[in-house]
Symmetry: C2
Subunit: 321 residues, 2 copies
């Protein structure tokens, strides 16, 4: 949680002069951002989020992310809508960083989701996949199976210091997943990071999805597998089958899964867990001195992996015809 | 800048059930807080700031701070208005910490103030002193002249490592200020921390004052001296006499200074500078490992002190009849 870049009132006033959203009333740095610097921005035109993209986001990817949010919002999905400036572009420069203003979305992240929340999430995920169908841009998933060995190489020697036996388990998982990773599943735009922080509810209803900065072009069912990992386990690694069933059923209420996707679900879930275990492990082993952000614990995903290794088929996750 | 306490959606929903401000729509941790944890809070009733008081604020002082904001708001001063819960109290408990909800104030802090901003500040400061006149509670200034020697004792041995000669200069200042500190000046409620961060502007107009957590009962002219230090110097220590003149004239347009206050101004300014130099010095020498907050540089106030030592009378600060 951090504001990496301080923005002065004078710099912001200059920046806003390029937009047609009225005069500046207030802005406050938001503590939650991990990758970027975010401000709550209030102008005479309304409430917005101002984001400064810090160096962890590749500038070349920004047109994809911004374009995707614009596309999804235009299709009626509740997500932040980028605001274009007077030049017609939604990507500007502020304090020497790429910067964008998006509409402010109300809603609250649920810390302890229930099966009801999972069902809502499943429907929203399928709607996101449908809304992205005619989006014209493409971005390969830079954190898919092809990237995992490179991540593991950075962490292998220190892995057993984090959890005993982790290096050997990961070697075995990697070999199996590289050999069996499914190709040619139905795909398109996926969110790829739909953790509870990125899903807003007002009362019991899902009110919006945020943070599209890992979005990419990949298999739809892999996005579902990421959500099953992120939403349906306790931190201790217990899988809540009722929550998984609700998530899958919610998804299928909008977009039924194909046979190949159902078949692939256990391996996709195992891969998704390995992906988050590996990125967390690398971050865990490379906390810079004076870091403002507490790294997330890779062992949570090590525990999820032991569930996935035992899962015989999609029914282990709560799927049923 | 930090959120010291994480607040879950469930804990916040429970807390809000005691208030009549509608249903929860959104809350975001604000990065700017130094002493406390602050959230921007949006409900169906409006926009608010939720504050959790962390251990640097003495719980026994909270009724004074909250009562003062209520009093000042009721007198028409633009400051956060505490919201009372169904029991009629504005101070509750959230995540085991004292917590309060206040109205959200629009406005932006000015990083590089001009003489115009200083004039606005002067008027607002005098209005604050007037509005506090019939406030019934009292809180001694725990960071006034009587506290400075104790602060210096914690830092004396390491002071010269921060700035050469700082220990000797401070010993001399302390002896002089303890001997000559004025008593019996007109006084009442003062803000005591009216730095640029705590003063909001919309466009050119001052829109509000915030952060009353150093407010206390002390000499009005000492509050003015704090503002002259905080607003009218460059970081390099150059005093901007035109800004000081505007600040004092703005103040006097609402509440003319008495002869004793004008006479005391140089010593009050010197004392105010020593107070901030000392608290910054102690914080500078005691940064806890992994601190989320960057300490402020005490040398800025060491440089201001060399100006104050040369100031013959109030005219050095821009005062004129």
């Amino acid at each position: 949680m951090a504001v990496y870049t301080e923005v002065s009132d004078a710099a912001l006033t200059d920046f806003l002069a390029d937009y047609e959203i009225g005069g500046l009333l207030s802005y406050k740095g938001i503590a939650e951002g991990v990758e970027n610097t975010n401000f709550f921005l209030h102008t005479t035109g309304g409430a917005y989020i101002l984001t400064l993209y810090e160096k962890r986001v590749r500038a070349g990817d920004l047109p994809f992310f911004i374009g995707l949010m614009e596309h999804l919002a235009s299709r009626g999905l509740a997500c932040p809508q980028p605001i274009r400036n007077r030049d017609g572009t939604a990507l500007g420069t502020l304090c020497d960083r790429p910067a964008a203003i998006v509409s402010f979305l109300d809603g609250v992240s649920v810390k302890a989701p229930t099966a009801h929340h999972c069902a809502e999430l499943g429907r929203a995920l399928a709607r996101l996949h449908a809304a992205g169908a005619d989006f014209g841009m493409r971005r390969d998933n830079s954190l898919s199976v092809g990237a995992w060995r490179g991540l593991f190489d950075q962490a292998e020697r220190q892995a057993d210091g984090v959890a005993p036996g982790l290096a050997a388990r990961t070697r075995d998982d990697l070999a199996l997943l590289e050999a069996r990773w499914p190709a040619n599943l139905p795909g398109g735009v996926i969110h790829a990071d739909l953790f509870t922080d990125n899903v807003f509810f007002i009362g019991d209803g899902l009110s919006g999805l945020i943070d599209f900065y890992f979005a990419c072009t990949d298999a739809f069912a892999y996005d579902l597998a990421i959500c099953l990992n992120a939403w349906c386990f306790s931190p201790e690694g217990t899988y809540h089958r009722d929550m998984g069933a609700a998530l899958i059923a919610g998804y299928e209420a909008v977009r039924p899964l194909e046979a190949a996707e159902i078949e692939a679900l256990p391996i996709l879930c195992r891969g998704a867990a390995l992906r988050f275990m590996l990125t967390r492990l690398v971050d865990w082993l490379n906390v810079p001195p004076g870091a403002l952000v507490q790294p997330k614990d890779p062992r949570e995903y090590d525990r999820r992996l032991s569930f996935h290794r035992q899962a015989a088929d999609a029914s282990a996750y709560g799927w049923s015809r």
